[in-house]
């Protein structure tokens, strides 16, 4: 059993959900997170794959510093880009298929497409029935 943590663009969520459904593994957890990568959250194109470069300079949509940084005037603030984090727990044999699907659908070719992490997971239990292990996620 593996846990797939995918940090992706906000606007790609519906497509990725559809792609996972097509594979036949629709279960997932979605969280709103703020992220930064090698570009340190400063890239405008990261915000939205559809956004033209010129739009960034109008400062309507900028990477967001935390509320604390806004309240306190700091000499330097760390910037973040809003992202969606998907957590999917899958049987071992489905990992490659699901990773490939997320890469295929989530790709725009620009910085900020996100990262996927595959982690081992010790076990799973379905709370309703108490089933443990592979049955719990089947």
């Amino acid at each position: 059993m593996k846990e797939i943590i995918a940090i992706i663009r906000r606007d790609k969520v519906p497509e990725i959900k559809q792609a996972l459904e097509d594979i036949g593994y629709p279960s997932l957890t979605i969280q709103s997170v703020d992220g930064r990568g090698k570009q340190k959250g400063a890239m405008c194109a990261e915000m939205d794959s559809e956004m033209p470069e010129s739009f960034c300079t109008t400062a309507k949509l900028k990477p967001t510093p935390s509320i604390y940084a806004l309240e306190h005037t700091l000499p330097k603030v760390a910037l973040y880009v809003p992202k969606r984090m998907l957590t999917i727990v899958v049987p071992d044999d489905l990992v490659t298929k699901i990773v490939k699907a997320i890469v295929r659908v989530g790709q725009t070719g620009k910085h900020g497409d996100g990262k996927i992490f595959v982690m081992p997971i010790g076990g799973a239990i379905r709370i309703r029935t108490g089933e443990a292990g592979g049955e719990a996620i089947a």
Binding site: K2, I5, A6, I7, I8, Q31, S32, V33, D34, G35, R36, G37, K38, Q39, K40, P65, S66, Y68, A69, L74, K76, V77, A78, Y80, K83, M85, V99, I102, V103, G106, Q107, T108, G109, K110, H111, G112, D113, G114, K115, I116, F117, V118, M119, P120
Partner: protein, 105 residues
């Protein structure tokens, strides 16, 4: 590779992230969370706070950098008072970059 999950004080988040950036680890995912620890929350006079706001940082690093990053978070996030938070480290098998589909950080 290792995933480092650090539950820290929200007001320390900027300091920690900037220190990590300075040390060459700019990539971080953060989310606001609520939790409690051994002290079962916080008692201020008659008011009891069961769950306290924390910032959760997710950082994935190569094995050899784990100690360095954990130490850095520890020194920057510490105030010495109860509620400084916890750091958890878990193994990561593989990482993929969505833009290229390549393996690796």
């Amino acid at each position: 590779m290792k995933m480092i999950r650090a539950f820290i004080r929200p007001e320390k988040e900027q300091e920690v992230v900037l220190a990590l950036e300075g040390a060459g680890f700019p990539s971080v995912t953060k989310m606001p969370v609520f939790g409690r620890g051994k002290q079962k929350g916080l008692q201020v006079g008659p008011v009891h706070y069961d769950e306290l706001p924390k910032a959760l940082l997710l950082i994935v690093v190569d094995d050899e950098d784990q100690e360095k990053v954990v130490n850095l978070i520890q020194t920057k996030a510490r105030t010495g008072f109860i509620g400084d938070g916890k750091i958890f480290v878990s193994p990561v098998d593989t990482a993929y970059t969505v833009r290229t589909g390549e393996e690796g950080l």
